[in-house]
Symmetry: D2
Subunit: 352 residues, 4 copies
Amino acid sequence: MSNKRKVAILGATGAVGQRFIQLLQGHPWFEIEVLAASERSAGKKYGEACNWVMETNLPPEIAEMPVANADVASVEKAGDVDIVFSSLPGDLAGPVEAEFAALYPVFSKASAHRMEKDVPLVIPEINPDHTDLIKIQQKQRGWKGFITTDPNCSTIQLAISLKPLMQFGLNQIIVNTMQALSGAGYPGVASLDIIDNVVPFISGEEEKMEQESLKILGSFNGKSVQNADFQISASCNRVQVKDGHLESVFVKLNEDPSLDEIEAAFTKFKGEPQKLKLPSAPVNPIVVRHEKNRPQPRFDRDTGCGMSVVVGRIRKDPIMSFKYICLGHNTVRGAAGGGILSAELYVAKGLA
Amino acid sequence: MSNKRKVAILGATGAVGQRFIQLLQGHPWFEIEVLAASERSAGKKYGEACNWVMETNLPPEIAEMPVANADVASVEKAGDVDIVFSSLPGDLAGPVEAEFAALYPVFSKASAHRMEKDVPLVIPEINPDHTDLIKIQQKQRGWKGFITTDPNCSTIQLAISLKPLMQFGLNQIIVNTMQALSGAGYPGVASLDIIDNVVPFISGEEEKMEQESLKILGSFNGKSVQNADFQISASCNRVQVKDGHLESVFVKLNEDPSLDEIEAAFTKFKGEPQKLKLPSAPVNPIVVRHEKNRPQPRFDRDTGCGMSVVVGRIRKDPIMSFKYICLGHNTVRGAAGGGILSAELYVAKGLA
Amino acid sequence: MSNKRKVAILGATGAVGQRFIQLLQGHPWFEIEVLAASERSAGKKYGEACNWVMETNLPPEIAEMPVANADVASVEKAGDVDIVFSSLPGDLAGPVEAEFAALYPVFSKASAHRMEKDVPLVIPEINPDHTDLIKIQQKQRGWKGFITTDPNCSTIQLAISLKPLMQFGLNQIIVNTMQALSGAGYPGVASLDIIDNVVPFISGEEEKMEQESLKILGSFNGKSVQNADFQISASCNRVQVKDGHLESVFVKLNEDPSLDEIEAAFTKFKGEPQKLKLPSAPVNPIVVRHEKNRPQPRFDRDTGCGMSVVVGRIRKDPIMSFKYICLGHNTVRGAAGGGILSAELYVAKGLA
Amino acid sequence: MSNKRKVAILGATGAVGQRFIQLLQGHPWFEIEVLAASERSAGKKYGEACNWVMETNLPPEIAEMPVANADVASVEKAGDVDIVFSSLPGDLAGPVEAEFAALYPVFSKASAHRMEKDVPLVIPEINPDHTDLIKIQQKQRGWKGFITTDPNCSTIQLAISLKPLMQFGLNQIIVNTMQALSGAGYPGVASLDIIDNVVPFISGEEEKMEQESLKILGSFNGKSVQNADFQISASCNRVQVKDGHLESVFVKLNEDPSLDEIEAAFTKFKGEPQKLKLPSAPVNPIVVRHEKNRPQPRFDRDTGCGMSVVVGRIRKDPIMSFKYICLGHNTVRGAAGGGILSAELYVAKGLA
């Protein structure tokens, strides 16, 4: 009998839910016990409820699983669960995740609770200590479980690339994103909107990048998270790429490191997941490429099985200290993979 | 008998050369007299030498024209010419354009001579007075003709959008481009390089944007052009769009105008071409859109027959004064259309 | 005061409805009086109810028009109407169009009534005499108005190309389509489904092509339409093209014309709209191109303002008599433009 | 010391050459000894000579290898070689491959020698006995080595799908292809030619499919190959897909099997590579999918590591016996992978 932790996935039929299923196949610590989704899907077999959009085949045993409704009673009826992953759509996520968090550890990919003061917004390599916020959360809310959240996909890769730069004193960040279609979920962006086109607007994205980055890179004093004190401005665009957000970043530092020192900071960066050898941790959170025209989404998004952030074109900037290009796989590191790594961190720390 | 000025097009078989041909159909002041290209094409009929990539049909009478070699003797043998448009590739353009400029007014789309001190780099709405540099050029070089140049395509649209902001004191500009495939000419970008991808590098483009902008927006004191004194940093990307460069621009101004004042400056901007009612001048050099997700390349690139720059998403910036999105048709305003407008300006001022 | 016929458009907010609005701008015979759509849009201004996806701007006076609910009472309250165009979705179209047809001439782009025995399925160049079916329809159904239908978009262009071949005895047709995204309406095909992909299935499309072609090219004996007696097989695919369906056609004829005779048949073909000089009639219903690699969607879809079918690569076939490539603009000739041309035919014949 | 066979790759810098390198990494029987290419690349390190377009990284030790000129003397100087793979461009392949074949077994992906009477055109699952042609070839030409060829990429997958149908008596085949960009090599198709477009022409492709299929599926009587006696017609198109040719196939059989019998024939099909358990042999040469809209290039091209042909939409046809959709990975099964499988067959049979 397996002694893996049993997992429920809320929002299992969506694009991120599918990626959770894909990445949890053969996971050493977790196994899928319950798939839950909205009323429209509940009661059907997963294979019928879901329009599977992964390139790997839908595992037959997953296809046969029934879809439970995304509420505690229905999920408990469907199986015994230790941990809950949620990729519910924004409007549903708020109350449903809270209902589960009263009883279970909830790892949420939704934005609903991210900016609440007692909810950790975790990237395991950056702020593993923020996980201690859950004790405050549990106490304040009287919960047996908790909610911990993953940042927005475009924020995650940016924040990872910024973390090793903090030693030089982060002052100002200007970032322009060129984001993949899968970031909008499924069906997401209409093909007629994006063919031969770029859409220079993604609802709420710029605000998320600007706000979440400060919390993630902020410091936890045992009671609350103090925002980091750099300034940040984002401009977000949708481009015709399947997976992989590309970001053009301009950074002003307080200190004046050489480009070699900056590159070394990127390359040497390791975090708690690497030390703990978490199952989903990439060997290198950041990989630097030296070709003049890399990283590129199609060629580099799968670096480190999609869990590494790829940095390139590190060069002096006439206005800021330097500029670079940054790429991350938005549905692996930026969504399901990041959520699983976070759950691994909580488990390794004995918190879930 | 027509008393239109007779035009030779150097580099007539390339993508920009084709656009010159397309835009000169029915032009009230100019008519095509000679088509010239490299040795590989010389001697053939144009319809055979050229892989026509415009969506409009190749005019049959153009298809029948012979292609001359791109040297003065061959062109003069092919016809009497008043004006020369050049879209020669960079390596050829330098010496060949100089040879023609000894005798003819040469309007060059190539980068070879742009940054030479006695060569005007002209956007008719911005710096029509820079045309007077040609007198100094003619004197210094002993030429009867002259060379005047058009800026790089991504620079043109940025510079047009910056001109009306100069009244508020331009201080710093950070720009990220998402450039169309046609900017690389034909065959240009390989389809295998760009499908499901973005290429975050265009050779020499960032340098061109950073250097040319300062010259274009600089001031001519009767002897030479003094560079404008703002700072500028560019990061350039190729995206899967046929025509239309999209630019995400962050601007720091010395003054502190409201967003309404900034928008009014864009909207009211008119230049010499509008005053002179030049045939290719758009009614509005800059068109502002108010939808939250515009401008977009496919929908807005043909604004003002491709000669207007479209601006949108004017909004406050946490770091700089404000940010906006800017779009221009890179092979119309950014290439052939811009070159024709420049020639119209010289003609209207009696300089060609 | 205008004495144009006043038009209501049902399904005005959809992709085909938008194309109707675009093509009716400045129409000499028709003017838009009422825009109607489903309950979700009714009561709003058109500019708010509609996500305008045409490349031309939404005319401001159209944006200000109120959207009526798509029922007779609401439409009559909104204005006096002479003619109704319907591009309602399939499930709504059946009963709603019938309700209108009791009182008004209804030109339907929906499939609901196409195959009913007393409903004409009209392509004006092919079967203008089928319009007389409406007298039988009116008598049988006791209607003052009538329903006439346009074929499916991929059928229209195929049928036009087949019509001039009937003189040689059509025997068998095998056709493979490569259809544009706009054929699925808006939002239609998800971008994640089609990037770097082809989808070899379009629901119901093969059946429509196989059934409708026989009715369109059938003969009307004054009482009913006798299906044409050739055999036809279709295989339908969705490709990443915005507009323009491309079809690869293999034809077996009873006779043995030369390729020149076949080409001449295509080129000389004219129909009633050309004789009547209807406002939307292209000069040539079929245009033959001789380049080895044409027609192509992006280059040829706007031929004849999108109302001509473009044929190329006419060549001998090892199995059938010959094969060719056929292209049509699916939302102009294949939808709104075809519907308007049909209405023009009815008006010119005094039937509407 | 390795006792693997040492391999030279001619045309190593091209797209197929790169795929050979990628697929030969860790191969149990073969190791790369010499990389050769045209004069332009000879003398450089491979990493400098080659624009690597695979999504996997260029192996560092390959990047350091020198590129030899593609002639026997230069290759022999560069290393001891047992086997030669050639993906030289068509114009070079003829004489160069012949020069090598005098001494070495040459496995050619080029079309130059395919239709020569004493040259086998081999798909290991279909006609493994055709390999015996090389004895005749060696005798006639006085060669110690030999040339064996792989078919055209679009032919390979069609022929594999046709092989199990031969038991029902193949009579007529009509096929329409929708071919991937990588089929044209690199740089291959210009992005400006294919964006928002389909190109309904690929030079020489229809002829290759029509001629090669008959030879591959023909029978070898110990002296020569007798062409199969069915009729075949192809129409070939280029679509915006990176890898994976999709083919719409209409088949007339002499017998009248049920669709179930046809599907069973596809599913049960095994060939010599499966019996011999060759290293690159897929478990199933043909995989049948039952979804109504599959196979699709992006989702199914990697089936069987790109070595399986995927068939779907098996359905009755109004004219022929039945129709289906067929997909193959054009640069794996259709090129380098097919070539390696062929070499494995020769080795297993003691012929190389």
